[in-house]
């Protein structure tokens, strides 16, 4: 392709958050911090667009002497990082400024916030474009380190507790993943010999079928448990509700929308390699089983919540579980549904956390019982909450309905993969449908209670228009629109990515 230099474009992709992060440390004054932030995100999205175009024409892009490798799957993830990142940046303008004005944080700490935010972005982009599984691991551990202080940013007791829990649980989980990476390297060295590229995805994919199945099985289990902790799959999820509740709303949106997706991406990458040596029933069975457990347990935990941010957190676990079921069952429909579900969930969940952030700022409480009459107090946020709530319960006309239907159809037509399918063919589908009804009822009951009813008198009414409303409206429109018409280029990208995941 003429006029496309992979090194330059990828350089922009990585340098934008890096330079913006360090610049933020030097700058005081929120206006410039936001300007730099938006420029950085804009550059990121522009670079992503160029890369996606190259992926369309060439199938994949490599840069910096094979250190960077981008194909359709990573492009889908980059797309999610870019769009949710942009939405968060727009939302942060009013959100962070209000926190400063109110005296919750000192103006100086705003620089630190943006520094950490950009390092978080950088780590996620690096994890997505890294060719080497080792570098990918380093970047994912990097996301843990960058976000732990973002979660504990308010420095209350609860937030410190949540941040510590997150740091320890995720670091330990991800250490197990490193053992998996070591084992992967161990197996590939026996085939490739002593070369420094033996951890590269491009190399591993070529020789994957010759790798030793015993080692790969062990490696995949460790990788799955490690990155599964980051995804928040049951039973490694206990950090997740605390972290989402305590984190500032834009950070929670990034954690729920993007970080989980990146962790899923890491699992899918490893699976693509493991599948060629093992039967895909093993990896698929593992994914689908843990996905199903997460989905079912989270659905019941949704019923118990009296804190709306925790409600959203459990809904995240639920939807990630569902996407995992999609990937685990596989087939063109399940894989496409899984990827599409990741995108929709990222949009719906960030919308939900934006609404939650607005509500929290006005009502000063996260208790569902104390929030009443939102439609009168904050009409726009009430609308956002309703839309995200309806979308997250997978009602039509929202895109999550489409992707959830695809996954359920895939499951009911082919059943759970491997040895799990034989004795109980219909049970998983019944369980899935039953739990989604449970989640639907619990979720809508809570949300409608918040939206309607008499508004408390001690809360100011009315909502002033701010920059933070732009992403809310855009995300709502996109969620409704994607159900009817998926843009052709995005559809093609997802289709290419699912073909990649299926080819073995």
């Amino acid at each position: 392709m003429t006029g496309f230099n992979a090194n330059i474009v990828v350089g922009f992709l990585l340098l934008a958050p890096l330079t913006a992060g360090w610049l933020s440390l030097l700058i005081n004054g929120s206006r410039w911090l936001h300007v730099i932030n938006l420029i950085s995100i804009g550059t990121l999205i522009g670079a992503e667009g160029f890369i996606a175009r190259a992926v369309f024409s060439q199938g994949s892009v490599t840069a910096f002497a094979d250190i960077v490798y981008v194909d359709a799957l990573s492009s889908v993830i980059l797309f999610i990082i870019g769009t949710v990142g942009l939405a968060c940046s727009l939302y942060m303008r009013s959100y962070m400024d209000e926190q400063v004005a109110r005296g919750v944080i000192a103006p100086k700490r705003l620089s630190l916030f943006f520094f950490l935010f950009h390092m978080f972005l950088l780590a996620m982009v690096l994890a997505t474009v890294a060719n080497s599984l080792g570098v990918q691991w380093v970047a994912i551990e990097g996301t843990t380190l960058a976000t732990t202080f973002l979660i504990a940013f308010w420095r209350r007791r609860e937030s410190l507790e949540a941040g510590w829990k997150y740091l320890i649980l995720c670091s330990v989980g991800i250490s197990l993943a490193l053992f998996g990476v070591v084992l992967m390297y161990y197996s590939s060295l026996r085939v490739l010999g002593d070369v420094s590229s033996a951890l590269n995805i491009t190399q591993l994919q070529q020789v994957a079928s010759q790798l030793d199945p015993h080692i790969l099985k062990l490696a995949f289990v460790f990788l799955f448990v490690g990155y599964g902790t980051k995804v928040g799959l049951v039973p490694m999820h206990s950090w997740l509700p605390d972290a989402y509740t305590e984190a500032p709303a834009p950070v929670a949106a990034m954690l729920a929308g993007v970080l989980e997706t990146v962790a899923v991406y890491a699992i899918l990458r490893c699976r693509g390699i493991a599948d060629q040596a093992l039967s895909s029933d093993f990896t698929g069975g593992l994914l689908a089983l843990f996905g199903l457990i997460s989905f079912a347990l989270a659905a019941f935990f949704i019923l118990l919540q009296h804190n709306y941010k925790r409600l959203f957190a459990y809904s995240s676990i639920e939807h990630m579980g569902l996407a995992m079921v999609g990937f685990g069952v596989g087939g063109p429909l399940g894989t496409f549904g899984g990827l599409f579900h990741l995108i929709n969930h990222a949009f719906a969940k960030s919308l939900a956390f934006f609404a939650a952030g607005n509500i929290h700022r006005r009502f000063r409480t996260v208790e569902i019982d104390q929030v009443r009459g939102l439609i009168a107090v904050l009409p726009w946020s009430a609308l956002a909450l309703l839309i995200s709530g309806l979308a997250l319960t997978a009602l039509p006309p929202f895109a999550l309905f489409a992707s959830e239907m695809q996954i359920i159809t895939a499951l009911s037509s082919s059943g759970l993969p491997g040895e799990w399918s034989e004795p109980v063919t219909r049970l998983p589908v019944v369980l899935l449908l039953f739990c989604s009804v449970v989640a639907f009822a619990g979720f809508l009951y809570r949300i409608t209670g918040m939206v309607w009813g008499p508004a408390p008198n001690d809360v100011a009414h009315g909502e002033r228009w701010s920059m933070g409303h732009i992403p809310i409206i855009l995300l709502g429109a996109v969620l409704a629109g994607f159900c009817f018409a998926l843009p052709a280029s995005l559809r093609r990208l997802i289709e290419m990515a699912s073909t990649l995941l299926l080819s073995r």
Binding site: V138, L160, E161, V172, F179, V182, L189, D194, D212, L304
Partner: protein, 222 residues
């Protein structure tokens, strides 16, 4: 060196990996926090020795770099940081334990057996020199994991995390004669930053809770 037959070389590497495992048991049995830090530093020294031995015996120079980094980061810098934290916090002992020392040691013994059992099918594929070290590495990872669950002081949990990391590093050295250099540097960076961040956290936890006892972190419950 004529006396250095492959058999003897294997024995030496096995011996120094076994010393790592031994220090692990020391950490599990030790209640005094500063002694735990010393034991961790000692373990890291053994790790560096093992890595240097493997580098020397196999003639892979880039493991020397990793060994040197281990000495700098894990024997000197991190123990100093931890000592500073302990001094500031004025806590010297782990008083309350969920599982007492003898029971912990028994459980760790069982973990070692499990580690050997898990790695049994894949050990024959390994390099002759270091193949038993892979089982020891997994044992260290599991013991670190267990210590993390069973102890309550933030500092001990941090040491347990670092012990896990040591086990992983031993695994990488043993199984594959070290990871690619870029990965190893990245891992060192992550570990160092994680240790520093955890150090800052213990200070903040102390300020907010007047304690680094993580069992007091109970504000967030269902």
């Amino acid at each position: 060196m004529p006396w250095l037959t492959p058999h003897i070389a294997t024995q030496i590497v096995d011996f120094s990996s076994a010393m790592l495992l031994l220090t692990c048991f020391g950490i599990v049995a030790q209640r005094r926090l500063s002694a735990c830090v010393d034991l961790f530093a000692l373990q890291s020294l053994f790790l560096a020795m093992t890595a240097a031995l493997v580098a020397f015996l196999t003639g892979t120079p880039h493991i020397y770099i990793a060994a040197a980094l281990t000495v700098v980061v894990k024997v000197i810098v991190i123990p100093r940081v931890l000592k500073g934290v302990i001094e500031r916090l004025n806590v010297t002992r782990e008083l309350v334990m969920k599982i007492n020392v003898p029971a912990s040691l028994l459980i760790c013994g069982a973990l070692v057996m499990i580690a050997f059992f898990i790695t049994q099918p894949i050990i024959p594929f390994g390099h002759l020199l270091t193949r038993d070290s892979l089982a020891i590495a997994l044992a260290i990872v599991l013991i670190g994991f267990f210590t993390m669950i069973s102890r309550q002081k933030a500092v001990t949990q941090l040491i347990a995390f670092l012990v896990m990391e040591n086990g992983l590093f031993l695994g990488a050295t043993a199984a594959t004669y070290g990871m690619p250099l870029i990965v190893e540097l990245g891992v060192f960076f992550d570990v160092l930053v994680a240790a520093l961040i955890a150090g800052i956290y213990t200070n903040r936890l102390q300020d907010a809770f007047d304690s680094v006892d993580t069992s007091r972190l109970t504000k967030l419950k269902e």
